[in-house]
């Protein structure tokens, strides 16, 4: 037997995921000893503590030197650690907004939080996976937990319908991705990204069809996961039917982890290929996703569904950042950013690290804004309205500024941030991505992005108008307060405003993380 020689330092990068899995196991086991009526308040607290702990460890890991772990099956770099931080933030906010949501429905159980923790552990590991089978398994770890969470509320027809759609399309896309993986394995004889670069060049000259078909299938699989048009059909239904805290986790964590893996895979697979091909692929996806996502969101009166379409639109802006990574021959308007170039490097390296920085900052910004907005939605909805489909109607927001000024202010901040209006984090993050895209010469695409985000402002500001300028509807139900929801609102509002006004520290640091992308 020749066992791999693992050292303890190999396990350090896994610490955030280990914390989450241990907390999940504690929740599952403690549930066994509880009677049906026992108080379960500790469960959300434990989840939030685990999220905070793994987030703190992730911050610490960012300062570790980038290196391969587990014989090249994973990579520890600032990129993956930052993604773990984003996932922990999403998990914490989703768990906080789940407290009131589950209590109102009498569905407070340890399994719910345990599944959230398992899903987040999968996301954290996916961000650092650099081997195709590991990537596939982590995608499945996070997906299977999210399928179960989507169908968690068994009463009513919507959750099971959403769970079913999510499951079928999720399993379908995993199979497509896996088939692409198998073809790349066939072409190169390895599944490790780092070992793949050399054989890939060789395979491109001897057997290009295998490589290209494999890469396209992998791209299609990821496009399903990040909800890029035309692979977005499941998103609105699943986001609407899933319990709102789960939707928050999906829009924040699942998307962030899938983007991380997409970037990691294609920065390797794209090497040696004609660079125009990945550029064309991602530019087309970005164009379709931005335009279609925003256009489809405009007629929505259902705020939860509107946020689902908005998450598609945001995937489009992120794909613009991904496309910017694959520009190799920049135009004349290529600008060297002296301020953000830390280690010098060619202008192209600088631009690429700017694009990576934009993607990472955007994911953090979107996590705070979207998780906050979904927490607000979950605070306003009532179970009785769900079957009628009016639980998330714009009318629910009418006159909120008079009834709960604090909530209305928080929601206004999230909407401005999602719309990309200063002084919020959403504006800063859009600025970073668009700037990176212009720097590498994707001017036309960036103009489309700016125009479509201007169109997006319409449906975000409509919510604000309803909250501040419409009268309170007759016979409005009293609004219940809950510590969890309010904590989530306060945290995300503070983050959205603060990161929008003072982005300096984070972006400076991220510029470094971008250059340190371990390859």
């Amino acid at each position: 037997m020749n066992l791999p020689n693992l050292i303890l330092a190999d396990f350090l990068p896994l610490l955030p995921a280990i914390i989450m899995v241990v907390a999940a196991s504690v929740l599952l086991l403690s549930e066994v000893f509880l009677s049906a009526t026992a108080s379960r308040g500790y469960q959300a607290v434990l989840t939030v503590v685990a999220a905070a702990a793994s987030g703190a460890v992730a911050v610490g890991l960012m300062f570790e030197p980038p290196r391969e772990v587990f014989l090249g099956f994973g990579v520890l770099d600032p990129f993956s650690s930052f993604l773990t931080l984003v996932v922990s933030v999403g998990l914490g906010l989703a768990a906080l907004s789940a407290v009131g949501f589950l209590r109102k429905r009498g569905a407070e159980r340890g399994e719910f939080y345990a599944l959230m923790l398992f899903a987040s552990a999968g996301m954290s590991l996916l961000a650092m996976s650099s081997e195709f089978i590991t990537i596939f398994i982590n995608i499945e770890v996070l997906s299977i937990a999210t399928y179960a969470l989507t169908a968690y509320l068994r009463r009513g027809t919507r959750p099971s319908e959403a769970g079913f759609k999510y499951f079928i399309l999720g399993a379908f896309s995993s199979a497509v991705l896996l088939y692409g993986t198998a073809l790349l394995y066939g072409a190169t004889g390895t599944t490790k990204l780092n070992d793949m670069v050399g054989p890939l060049q060789q395979a491109l000259s001897t057997n290009p069809a295998l490589v290209y078909v494999g890469a396209v299938l992998i791209a299609a699989g990821f496009a399903f996961k990040v909800a890029a048009v035309p692979f977005h059909m499941w998103t609105p239904d699943v986001y609407e039917g899933a319990p709102t805290p789960v939707t928050a986790l999906m829009s924040a964590g699942v998307k962030a982890a899938a983007f991380a893996s997409l970037v990691r895979v294609f920065l390797t697979v794209g090497k040696g290929m004609d660079p125009k091909l990945p550029l064309m692929l991602f530019a087309t996806l970005a164009l379709l996703t931005m335009v279609a996502g925003n256009l489809m969101a405009i007629p929505q009166r259902n705020v939860k569904r509107m946020l689902a379409y908005s998450s598609i639109a945001h995937a489009g802006y992120l794909l613009l950042g991904v496309a910017a990574l694959f520009v190799t021959a920049p135009g004349e308007h290529f600008r060297v950013l002296a301020a953000s170039s830390l280690s010098g490097g060619t202008p192209l390296d600088v631009a690429r690290s700017d694009a990576l920085r934009g993607i990472l900052y955007y994911l953090l910004a979107y996590t705070f804004s979207a998780a906050g907005a979904f927490a607000m939605v979950s605070a306003l909805e009532r179970r009785e309205d769900e079957e009628k489909g009016t639980a998330w109607d714009l009318e629910r927001f009418a006159g909120l500024a008079q009834r709960r000024p604090g909530w209305a202010f928080a929601m206004a901040a999230f909407m401005l941030s999602l719309g990309g209006i200063p002084p919020t984090v959403g504006f800063m993050s859009k600025l970073l991505i668009f700037q990176a895209a212009i720097d590498v010469g994707l001017v036309g695409l960036t103009i489309v992005a700016v125009l479509s985000s201007a169109a997006g402002a319409y449906y975000y500001l409509r919510v604000v108008v309803y909250m501040f300028m419409h009268p309170v509807p007759e016979g409005a139900q009293p609004l219940e307060r809950n510590w969890g929801t309010e904590a989530a609102l306060v945290i995300s509002t503070v983050a959205v405003v603060l990161l929008g006004i003072l982005p300096g520290h984070v972006t400076d640091w991220l510029a470094q993380a971008g250059t340190l992308f371990g390859q």
Partner: protein, 109 residues
């Protein structure tokens, strides 16, 4: 010996059949079976390529290559997916008394 290409073509055909089935069949259980068919087509591809590459990457005396091991992982994951998938199909059946995909669309706007 049967050439590797034949196995790959068979796997591709199975994969396309599964993909086609997911897109057009209406019975939820059949759709689910088609997903499994796709995963097994992937397994066959992995194994065919593993045969082609030999036990590469598994050390000097290894019998199994990466492709063989991959197939085992896929089987395990497919089993986990089946467990959750069937549970969801049962939840759908309980709430509407049907597993027809065409009936599962209350959320169209």
């Amino acid at each position: 010996m049967v050439p590797i290409t034949y196995y790959l073509l068979l796997a591709a055909a199975l994969f396309c059949m599964g993909m086609f089935g997911v897109l057009v069949r209406t019975n939820a259980l059949v759709v689910f079976m088609c997903v499994e068919l796709m995963l097994n087509a992937v397994n066959l591809t992995f194994l065919a390529f593993a045969r082609m590459h030999g036990a590469l990457g598994g050390g000097p005396n290894a019998v199994f290559g990466v492709g063989h091991v991959s197939a085992f992982f896929v089987i395990a994951v497919a089993a986990a997916e089946a467990a959750i998938g069937l549970a969801i199909v049962i939840a759908v059946f309980r709430s509407r008394g049907s597993v027809n995909v065409d009936d599962i669309r209350t959320m169209k706007h």
